[in-house]
Amino acid sequence: METIRCPICGSSNPGTLERCKACNQILRQSTTELDGRAERISSGQTPTEKKTSELEAALPAWLRHARQRDEEEEQTASASDPEEIQAQDQKPEEVPIPPDFSEEVEEESNAVSDPLDWLAGLDSEEDEEEAADWLVNLQGDLASEEEIKEEPHADRPAADEPITANIPPASTDEEEASVQTGELPGWISDLQGGETEDSSSLPDLLVQEEAAPVSDTDEGGLPDWLSRLSEEAETPAASIETSPAQPVSVSTTDAEPLAAEASDALPDWMADLQPIGETTEAPPSSVESKPEVKPTEADDALPDWMADLQPVGEETPAEEAAESAIASDELPDWLSDEEKPPAVESVPEESQPAEVAEDLPDWMTNLQAAEEDPTLAAEATEDDDLPDWLNTIPAEDFSGQGSDKTVDLPPQENIEEELASPQALETLSTELTRDADEDPTLAAAEAEVPDWLSRMEKPATGPLSEITPAATETETPDWIASLPAEDETEKENSAEVETSASSPAFVADGSFVDGDASDDSDEIFGIEMPDWLSSLAPSDAEKVEKEPDAAQAGAPEDLSGAELPSWVQAMRPVASVVSDSSKSKDGEEHVVASTGPLAGLSGILPVGPGMGTKNKPRAHAIKLRVTDSQQSSAAILENLLASESESSFSQKADKTTSLPLLRWGIALLLFLAIGYSLFTQTKMAPSPNIAVPEVGAAIQEINQLPEAGSALLIFDYEAALSAEMQVAAAPLIDHLMLRGEKIAVLSTSPTGPALAERFLQETQSSHAYQQGIDYVNLGYLPGGASGMLSFISSPQNAIAAQLNGASVWDLAPLANITNLTDFSVVIVLTDDVERGRSWIEQASATLNASATPFLMAISAQAEPIIYPYFASGQVDGLVSGLSGGATYERLQGQSGVGRKYWDAYSIGLLLAEILIVVGATINLLASLRARQKTDEDEG
């Protein structure tokens, strides 16, 4: 008997006690301390396979005893009745009746609730009447598997014995055999037991199938042990200590001989549970209670992967169980964690092994603590170690049933007491993790599973991985069947079972797919489950239903259909996606984008026919088609260009001719002739006496002007020709001043006002006109033709000049002037053709309409252009150049500047005429000489 020394008082206590007899203190460490030292595997982390066989020496004594006992039992069983064991292996199909659970038992089991609170919580949420087909089918499968298992136990009297927490069930040989087989882990039986409470809500089909084994039980439809269990469950004390689902009872029974016999054949994780039986004083449930309670509850509350586990335990013979136990040594920690919670739950409070509690995942431990202390429920449910899908379950599911499930989950103190050898377990956990990592099969399987799937399957792979070989025999899906090492090799060689069992990823995948075949799976696994996963599962489930044989046979190619969802494939490299998704399943071609942001996506709209033609462009002839006329035109153009490009021969001028002698000679003649005329003041040329109608008309218009009128003089000439303009306009202006006309001066040239002032000062100084009184200089009129028109339309608006602070329009010369026609006469003095014509064009019509005289004194160079306007009548009089001025003077009988310059002007014109004639003669003679020379040369 193992003893434990109290760390407080130092007194020795039996190893089964968890509290000291003397000081009532806890004898063992808490699991939280161990958890801190041991490596925990969180959800989504790949477990490490362990080889715990090397750690046999570290096992506690009770475990070693249990193993020895198990080996002895195995030897005895195999030697005594091998045929019976063989018959049990062949019976499952013949006895598919699971134990029937009456309502009474269900109510009792409700009190003890589901060992896995989280699953029980899910079940509580589910409406069993609305259970999906897949769940019904699953239940049916499980029921059939239970039938296989229940038959050998139906006749056992030991199975009828009541199971109490304090009294260990009597173990018979059959029980021991079943214990040795290790068919089902204790936690699974807990699950089943917990689910019996929901069996009433299962579909009728399932109930009918379950009703068959009822006949084999007592009249209440319950096995005896269940009946006893129900009776005890009615009492509060029993309900607390006894769990209807006591899977751990297989290993936690107090019957040490039984545990010792089974210890060798049991897998390690079961072996870990055995100390419960050794250390606990309260007798756990019997071995028979496990298969009897398990099926119905597991059918209801367990997902598929759980259901897949059950047949293994039921169908695996004792030898295989022993071998699978060896394989279980390589189970990863998290797998062990999944196995052990049920064991912990099924053990009475006093008999909670510390090892089990140590291996529990945190979230499970928290659940246990929450059940013990409802205040910790919230914290437990919010633990980070919980899987995501489990976190989605409301906390009420745990807390609300916590009162009923406190029996299932032992208090944490008990767990701490049961930790016999924390260091050894820690080493064991480390080795398990390492071995799992080194397993290539497991690694390969993990590599093919997406992360999200791995996360979800991790909690389920623990028990599955161990029992997968048996599960594949009954309802193995295609993908499991496709694993060759898991089916046939297990049957033939138990050593290969270890290898196949160590592929949790595949097992979980298949089980997960099966379990997702209904809508209820969405509720179970929460909102996080994507739609595609829901859509994938039914198809696979249907495959299993329609082709069970094929699934059992195993078709490796079936794996490809459900390996990766479409959206995952879309994330793969483009090349692989294109090759895979170019065609859909129905044979319809889908366009797959190979480039751009939609690369890798199929089903995109193809490029339309009009969005890009691939036809070759038409061939156009390079040779031009040119007509004859075009060719002739091109030839003309070519000749022109050729003549332009030819370099013209420039004849070098002689040095003698390069001097401007002719220019100098002509200039000298002019200077001498004009100078002499001016200097001598000779009157060689008579005054112009020819009739000049324009000058005569001008004189006539001036003579007809009313007295004391206002004449408008427009000085639009430049300084260069001021001499000519003065000579031409002086007699006209003098005539006008002689008439006593007031004068208003305006100019469209900026220099005009200054030239006007100079004109009046130099030529009309004799009249003594004063500014503002006799004449007004309106100044510069900007705007060109527009300004002219503006002034013609409204003189006062166009000119806003002021003189000595007063408006010019208030002065005497402009006192009565409001319009252009108010002027007595308009005289334009200009040397520019354009300006003269502009004035004619803008003002002639207005002035002619009002019979206002319109006279012009222009330069001789503008006469050829302006004269037609006089001929047309638009201009009433015209004085042009020096000749016009001289003529005007003569007609007026005056002797002015015109007459003074007339001789010089006449000499200059004569000289110019002579020069022109001489020059023309010289050129003519030169040409004649050149022609004669040519003729002589030719002749």
């Binding site: 004859d628 220019r663 004009i674 200097f679 001499a723 000579v727 200054a754 014509r837 006469e863 000749s883």
Partner: protein, 229 residues
């Protein structure tokens, strides 16, 4: 001898006149300096006139001391003027486009209207009226002379217009040739054009000769005033 302003101005004018006449011996510095002086003086004078006679009375004064209506009206030319100044800045030259468009538009409209109503219609009418014998008789001109004068005027006008007509038919050899009648009218038109250019040249020569006479008279008069008190 006192240096009166008239003497100084006369002396400057005398020298500048000689500098301009020095162009006979080539384009040299005296001629260039004189030209630059004339251009500079003219530009300065024009700027002064523009400020005193245009900007100040028509823009600045209304803005500073005008009524509200005058100020409002002055904003328009002010804006257009500022935009026109933007033409001097290449990046902002487009801003001056509205002002230029306004000036060109109004100027073209005025010029075209004046040309049509003041030149084309009156000249055509005058040409037609040359054959008004009654009017000629009233003026004491015989009909034959008037008819000859009118005929000559018609011939000169038509021949000159034909001369500037460059359309022709293509011959069999591919060359373009006018017909004989067009050729004759064109030739007559060329004569009239030549005479017109001769008259224009005579007018220019007459104007230049008058200016030369006036300048030589100035030089002689100024030189005589220096030595002949």
């Amino acid at each position: 001898m006192s240096f009166s302003p008239e003497l100084i101005s006369g002396l400057i004018a005398f020298l500048l006149t000689l500098f301009v006449l020095s162009y006979l011996i080539g384009d040299q510095i005296l001629f260039r300096a004189t030209i630059n002086i004339f251009v500079g003086a003219s530009a300065g004078y024009v700027a002064t006139v523009a400020w005193h006679q245009v900007l100040a009375p028509n823009l600045v004064r209304p803005l500073l001391s005008g009524t509200s209506a005058e100020k409002m009206l002055a904003i328009i030319p002010l804006t257009l003027s500022l935009l026109l100044l933007a033409k001097a800045i290449p990046p902002l030259s487009k801003l001056g486009t509205p002002s230029v468009a306004f000036m060109v538009g109004t100027g073209a409209a005025v010029a075209i209207g004046g040309a049509v109503t003041g030149t084309i219609f009156p000249q055509v009418t005058a040409t037609i009226n040359l054959f008004d014998m009654a009017a000629a008789n009233e003026r004491g001109i015989s009909s034959s002379v008037q008819f000859l004068e009118g005929g000559l005027m018609i011939l000169g006008t038509i021949s000159t217009l034909v001369y500037f007509q460059f359309t022709a038919k293509r011959g069999t050899d591919g060359t373009y040739r006018r017909n004989l009648f067009t050729k004759i009218l064109s030739l007559i038109g060329g004569i009239f054009i030549a005479i017109t250019f001769g008259v224009l040249l005579a007018g220019v020569y007459s104007a230049a000769l008058t200016a030369l006479i006036e300048r030589l008279d100035f030089l002689i008069s100024f030189a005589g005033s220096l030595w002949l008190p």
